[in-house]
């Protein structure tokens, strides 16, 4: 286990998530891609903290930030999907250009 290997793992997770976010038609699947990308950010931040600056807690704070962003993204994402489906009966990104009545 080394910094390079952990960062490569983070890059792989980020890239897979990016692929999902770019290709998926379903909004829920797109959100799964975003979650994977944030998973990569978490691994990267934890690795930087452990291998470079373990004496400062800044890397841990970045992990807290990423975890919070994950929660916010999921809550707001599901609320937007609910609003979108309720007003326009749309659940795919291709058909959802904007949120209007």
């Amino acid at each position: 286990m080394s910094l390079d290997l952990l960062l490569l793992l983070a890059a792989a997770l980020f890239s897979i998530g990016l692929f999902g976010a770019l290709t998926q038609q379903s909004v829920v699947m797109l959100m799964m891609g975003l979650e994977l990308m944030l998973g990569g950010v978490i691994v990267g931040a934890a690795a930087i903290w452990h291998f470079l600056t373990p004496d400062a807690a800044d890397g841990q704070v970045l992990v807290v930030l990423a975890v919070t962003v994950m929660a916010v993204e999921m809550a707001v994402g599901f609320a937007v999907v609910t609003a979108l489906f309720r007003t326009r009966e749309v659940d795919t990104t291709d058909m959802a250009a904007e949120l209007k009545r």
Partner: protein, 187 residues
């Protein structure tokens, strides 16, 4: 040695299940694959000595994926995956972009001259995190708190069926509002 084995097992599982998320036809399988991938991420964080954050990630992701499964059944075109269908668009372009991003990141990671380790991990990283969030990183903590509060308000507003235009019509000064259950003391 044991640490390295655990790292590799978790890393391979995280990447493999991450890939399978977008290959499964069944939504339930995709959700569980994402859960497995994110649990492995939590495991890697635990392996790095961040016990509190690792456990938080594991617990949060378990609950989050349970909710995700419910929303998938509600909104997905083919939740059971009984009829194989493609839900992808611009697959080739996205593959090129993602491969380029990974290659660029990997090149940067392998070529960068990382600085030497500064200091030693504290005996209690959780205490260190708490002291930081309540001290020099207080602004971050306050901002996160406000963001979470704004999230609660905005999700309720977005999810509720009736908005102010449903209650008052086009003229928002109209009284009384057309509420299905009138509020106040005269109810």
């Amino acid at each position: 040695m044991t640490e390295d084995i655990v790292f590799w097992v978790l890393a391979v599982l995280a990447v493999a299940s991450g890939v399978m998320v977008f290959r499964f036809d069944s939504m339930a399988r995709a959700t569980y694959a994402l859960l497995l991938s994110l649990l492995c991420v939590g495991g890697e964080v635990l392996l790095l000595g961040l016990d509190y954050l690792g456990v938080v990630i594991v617990l949060m992701m378990t609950i989050e994926m349970a909710l995700m499964a419910v929303f998938m059944v509600m909104f997905m075109m083919n939740p059971a995956g009984l009829m194989p269908m493609s839900m992808l668009h611009n697959k080739k372009g996205a593959a090129v972009i993602c491969t380029t991003v990974f290659a660029a990141l990997a090149t940067g990671i392998l070529l960068a001259r990382w600085p030497a380790r500064r200091g030693r991990p504290p005996t209690d990283p959780t205490m260190s995190l708490g002291m930081s969030l309540m001290g020099p990183q207080m602004l971050t903590m306050v901002t996160l708190g406000m963001a979470l509060f704004a999230t609660i308000v905005s999700t309720v507003v977005l999810s509720t069926r009736r908005g102010r235009y449903d209650r008052f019509g086009d003229d928002l000064r109209t009284r009384p509002a057309d509420d299905p259950v009138p509020g106040g003391g005269g109810r």
